[in-house]
Amino acid sequence: MPAPVKRRATPGGVPSSTPAREPPRLRPALGGGRGSNDPARAAAASRELWLAIHLPDYVLESLRWRATLAGAAAHAPGGTAVVDVEDRGQVVCACDAAAVTAGIARGMALNSALALLPSLHVLPRDANVERALLDAVATLATGFTPRVALEPPDAVLLEVRGSLRLFGGVRCLLAEVRERLQRLGCVPRLALTPTPLAALWFARACEEVVLRRREGLASRLAPLPLACTRWPEKSVQSLATMGVRTVGDCLRLPRDGLARRFAPELLLTLDRALGRAADPRAAFVPRPRFTARRDLEPELSDTARLGLAVEPLLEELCAFLRLRGHGVDALELTLLHREAPATRVRLRLVAPATQAAHIAGLLREHLERKELPEPVRALRLRSGPPVPVAAVAGDLFARHAQRTAGVPQLVERLRARLGPDAVHGLRLVAEHRPERNWGHSLIFGNRGHSPISASQRPMLKMADQKLGNVPYFPCRPLWLLTDPQPLPGGERPRYGGPLELEEGPERIESGWWDGCDVRRDYYVARDRAGARLWVFRERQDGGRWFLHGVFG
């Protein structure tokens, strides 16, 4: 009996409201029309073919999936059992084959299980991970068809009629789905029928059927036990006392009697399973952003170990991005404390990243510089909107591609440790004043800060072209002092001794219009040690001398 833990599970397939009132948040209806009296809709619905993916072992598989994402071994040797912490952790709610061999079963008290197998590896159940696994399965399913619906907690429904031809028929499609799921570490039950609910029931009953027509549906459904319908426990039990144990038994009951004695959902779900009533499904919409949370047990205050604790979340993020072929250029890591307000680490990347190792390295640099007010109780990772990543075509002699690809990562790593302003590029500005004819270019993405106005751009372009070909200003030093250094001296400046003026003067007079008026005579000077210096004498304010550059 495929009985996933009932406490947590919302009973699948049973709408909680009456048929007339579908839950309002079901946005795009999937399964055909509103009523079967519309012939066009009914015809469309009759052509549907639904594939149900049911994961009987999703509790254990989700934990293994998280472990493989984190790079840990998926299987602990010698038996694993999962307990529900919210249920005081006393009862085994899932266990692997090794534990079953030792005699452990679902619903067994943890103490008895440990008595049977002292080396049993006990894991706490994690609803977030279970939901994440289902999302991952659904996202994977969107690779087969655009019409995907979730059936929490353990199933996904796909309408695949339109995809059969593309994937080379039912057999090939099923094999492909199964293989992709096995790569996630899941062992699925697959069933294909014209109605979603019937497919789900077959899959839950571990009957892997392929039914393309509606005609034989009732007779094939008949032997299924009622447990696969996940009707309310009470109804199933009272039906059992009446000797009604299978779907077939139920179908033989008079409709009006069944409707009167039990909740109307029962009749409705039977009609839906047989295709007599429409079965609208909420379309699965992949999450636009990635969010994940990890509780830390025990609490951590060491930033280095926090860096390690984030890594599984980053792996998940990157798996999320890989499925979409996207990267991410902004993320926020929130460190939750017990009392103090949460510490936030914001990461802005110069280029969309797809590699977990790279993001982990940057986060580690940021974390190392954070002061933590208290130990960290939980981590929450939230990504910015996914950014499409241009696939880089590999170069056969991949020198060039590798070089340019590495620059954004390098800049990020340097900025993460040395500070956001530590790295900049250089650019030329069409100007005569030496302190203004160059500028910092904030590389990668931040070019918007450029102080050059649009009107100056054509000029700059001309200057660039000119500079590219012939020397523009012949006599400029390779080193510039950002602030000119005043030098003593009257007619001849002194700098550790009198300077010898070798070339000049070159007069630069400019900038009267913007308040930074410059009127200078520039000379190339040589000091006693033989260094060549670029000095100027002001043509105003008494003709003081300044050192402005060094010919390196």
Binding site: V423, L478, A531
Partner: protein
């Protein structure tokens, strides 16, 4: 046998028969100064490994010495790499660099300490065709790490240090001491793997002249 081949391919392994001879010295990248090229094994700057330039003064031509090689980096067929300036003593002046033929849009100026860490990152990223660094090395092991990173990266790696550091041993492939003589720059080759120690008088260097001549 494969492991022996691997060993022989390692650039940091000296083979006795090559010592002093230039038989299988890989060709270097030209310095742009013929006098200096003749004194260096391989006829130019070594393509792999750390180059140390020791000087106490700014302004005697220590950058001009590198300019022809830096300008040529941009035009190499596999070039397109960036030039990283790590902790330079002053601001590199873009118009003068452009006049020397250096592609200003591919410069990366990095400030902040530790400079040796930044140099190593730049080398390991594989994104830089040249890495110029100004750093004080107290620790011989750190220098050795830098030399290893330089060997593996194929970047043109230049480390500027003080003249007094010339007394200490260094794993660098090439060590030059720069001094200013009466008629211009004097380059003393302190150490040159596969070459000889010698002194070269270069006279006044004007990289702008070099750029316009080519």
């Amino acid at each position: 046998m494969a492991s022996l081949d691997d060993l022989l391919r390692r650039p940091d392994l000296w083979r006795a028969r090559e010592r002093g001879g230039t038989t299988s010295q890989p060709p270097g990248r030209s310095t742009g100064y013929a006098v200096l090229d003749r004194c260096l094994p391989g006829g130019g700057w070594p393509t792999q490994g750390l180059i140390e330039i020791l000087t106490d003064r700014c302004g005697i031509g220590e950058l001009s010495l590198l300019m022809p090689a830096l300008a040529a980096l941009g035009s190499e067929e596999h070039g397109e790499g960036w030039i990283a300036w790590i902790a330079p003593p002053h601001q590199p002046y873009a118009p003068a660099l452009a006049a020397c033929g250096v592609d200003v849009s591919r410069l990366l100026v990095v400030r902040g300490q530790p400079a040796e860490w930044a140099m190593e990152q730049a080398l390991r990223s594989g994104a830089c065709s040249a890495v110029l660094g100004w750093a004080e090395f107290r620790d011989h092991r750190a220098l050795r790490r830098l030399q290893l990173a330089a060997e593996q990266s194929r970047s043109f790696t230049v480390l500027f240090r003080r003249l007094r550091d010339g007394d200490e041993p260094s794993p660098a492939v090439l060590r030059l001491a720069l001094e200013s003589g009466p008629e211009g720059l004097v380059v003393r080759i302190l150490k040159s793997r596969g070459g000889h120690a010698s002194t070269v008088r270069l006279g006044r260097l004007d990289p702008a002249d070099w750029a316009s001549a080519h």
